[in-house]
């Protein structure tokens, strides 16, 4: 399986990473090198095999449904590039 330049642009869009025209052929080559490396996985018979969902056998931990954290808006926005009154500021999202 290999990707064409249109697919590279589509993946970049999904990943929300801007790519220039110069970047695309280069990325295409690198991605195809990796995809060709992983092609050998098609050799394996995975009939009846469950995908691994838990690395170590364990069931999901639960806790009491109570408030144990919060009231620290200052900490949460401390690293924000732009914030005001405990809100994160961003370019307009909704038209």
């Amino acid at each position: 399986m290999s990707v064409d330049q249109q697919t590279v642009r589509r993946i970049a869009k999904l990943a929300r990473i801007a790519v220039t025209d110069e970047d695309v052929p280069h990325l295409q080559g690198e991605l195809n090198a990796i995809l060709s490396f992983v092609e050998q996985l098609d050799e394996v018979d995975v009939e009846g095999v469950e995908p691994m969902t838990s690395v170590i056998p364990m069931s999901a931990k639960q806790r009491e449904d109570g408030v144990t954290d919060g009231s620290k808006a200052d900490d949460i926005v401390a690293n924000a590039p732009a914030s005001e009154d405990g809100f994160f500021l961003v370019p307009k999202v909704v038209e």
């Binding site: 990707v3 993946i11 929300r16 090198a33 990796i34 490396f37 996985l41 999901a60 620290k72």
Partner: protein, 494 residues
């Protein structure tokens, strides 16, 4: 009188206890060593005031007979661990300036045990790399050099800064993380000991996530005993991390002198790869002989799906990374590049903030998870993962206690030598280590010898789930037989 920076962690612990020197002296000795080692680029951020304040507190406690397990011992911290009030960047431009308001569980455990923080250590960006050449802070230079040579070598990666700092005696031990080999491979390249514990042994809370089902924290140290001491403190259960197992932490240090009498050590035939260097073959055989002489039974075993672990890893890990790194969007923390609208802001921020290797992995991950490809790639890789784990389970069910393999296919290479054209060339460094992350098992790299140019080579032991104790016991046997590594004398600094 031994130089303070030549001591092991356990020797320094004993020295502090017997008041041979103070914690402040110990910290200052390491700070002086760091000041001379700028060319190695192992430390990217020092915390001198904090370190001295912590050392002063340690001296008070030691004076009162209230020393905690790591009281006064100076450590380096990989820049993947969130340290409260101290910039943490994962060695990426996208997190430059990020100052956590919280402490990772692993580092909190270290400070609660009285350890001293010297500073943050360099690593590959977001832990993605095998040579510490992808860091936004520049490459790390290994303190090792080929005999008669001056070529700058890589320390391995992604925990290159951690391995280089310990090998260059800039800290008594360092924290690191391992997703595909990032503790064990740099340890093998630098003649140090590195353990990746069982998945779930250490908490991942506050540790910058790369691939959540593969990441594990662990120490890099000068000796096996030091490794056991450090892991004993780093490990804990944690209600804040639901993948962290609720299992008690054994006394790992007590296991170090257990020996291996009566243990069965498996030698997996599939790890004997085509074109394997004779030096690595000989080291592997030496390891088997040492364990046999110490009373272990050596048996050949088969792990049939071994060769599929690396390609499966390069689907699963990037897929999980693409999900984990979606949070870096310029909104709540880190770099923001302004844009026409929100989407443009995301795209420009991430293009500017992420390096090439990170972008490559996010893109592969996005592709293999996208509609139409999920089944063919990600789901298939996860099924192969089940088969890889099953291979190990079947071997352990036959009574094998641990598995011995080489740690890396070669010794350290020169900076810039690999990965230029083909990303896969760099990925092949992890060929012996990724199976262990895919199966969630513990693995330790222990120095075993040197290649013909005087560069360290390591052996790897792979254990049963939550049986790090056997790894420390077998690791100690190898360390005793191979002899303690003579760390390189400084060619750096004036």
């Amino acid at each position: 009188m031994t130089k303070l920076t030549d001591l092991t962690l356990s020797e320094a612990r004993d020295g502090l206890k017997s008041k041979a020197f103070s914690a402040v002296e110990l910290t200052q000795a390491h700070q002086a060593a760091i000041a001379k080692a700028g060319v190695l680029n192992a430390f990217i951020r020092e915390t001198p005031d904090q370190a001295l304040a912590m050392a002063v507190v340690a001296d008070e406690r030691i004076g009162k007979g209230e020393a905690r397990p790591l009281e006064g011992l100076p450590l380096g911290i990989k820049d993947l661990f969130c340290t409260q009030g101290v910039e943490t960047t994962a060695c990426s431009n996208i997190l430059k300036g990020f100052v956590p308001r919280y402490e990772s569980t692993v580092t909190a455990n270290l400070w609660n045990a009285g350890a001293v923080m010297l500073g943050k250590l360099n690593c590959d960006e977001f832990a993605m790399g095998s040579s510490n050449e992808t860091s936004a802070f520049g490459s790390v230079v290994s303190p090792w050099r080929r005999a008669g040579g001056e070529t700058q070598l890589v320390p391995g990666g992604s925990s290159g800064g951690s391995a280089a700092a310990v090998a260059a005696r800039l800290c008594l031990a360092a924290t690191a993380t391992d997703t595909g080999g990032s503790i064990r491979q740099p340890a093998a390249f630098t003649g140090t000991v590195g353990i990746k514990p069982t998945y779930g042994r250490c908490s991942r809370w506050g540790t910058v996530a790369f691939a959540s089902s593969l990441d594990q924290a662990g120490p890099i140290t000068k000796t096996v005993r030091d490794s056991a001491i450090m892991l004993g403190v780093m490990a804990s259960s944690d209600p804040k991390d639901t993948t962290c197992a609720d299992v008690p932490v054994p006394d790992f240090e007590a296991a170090v002198n257990r020996g291996v009498r009566g243990l069965k050590i498996g030698i997996p035939k599939e790890y004997r790869v085509d074109g394997m260097s004779p030096e690595i073959e000989r080291l592997w055989e030496a390891g088997q002989a040492w364990l046999r002489e110490a009373g272990a039974e050596i048996v050949e075993v088969s792990l049939p799906h071994t060769k599929y672990a690396l390609p499966a890893y390069y689907i699963v890990a990037p897929a999980e990374a693409s999900s984990n790194l979606a949070r870096y969007d310029g909104v709540r923390y880190g770099l923001r590049v302004e844009g026409r609208d929100i989407t443009d802001m995301y795209e420009r921020t991430r293009a500017a903030g992420f390096g090439r290797e990170v972008k490559r992995r996010i893109m592969i991950g996005t592709y293999v998870l996208s509609a139409g490809y999920y089944d063919a790639y990600y789901l298939r890789a996860q099924k192969i993962r089940t088969l890889i784990k099953r291979d190990f389970e079947e071997v352990y069910a036959q009574g094998v206690d641990a598995i011995l393999t080489p740690a890396t296919p070669s010794a350290a290479f020169g900076i810039g030598e690999k990965g230029g054209g083909d990303p896969v060339e760099m990925y092949l460094n992890d060929i012996f280590t990724v199976t262990v992350n895919m199966a969630g098992l513990p693995g330790i790299a222990v120095p075993g010898g040197f290649d013909s140019q005087g560069l360290p080579l390591g052996l790897q032991l792979i254990g049963r789930p939550f049986d790090e104790e056997t790894l420390f016991a077998a690791g100690q046997v190898i360390e005793d037989a191979a002899g303690r590594v003579a760390l390189p004398q400084p060619w750096w600094g004036a």
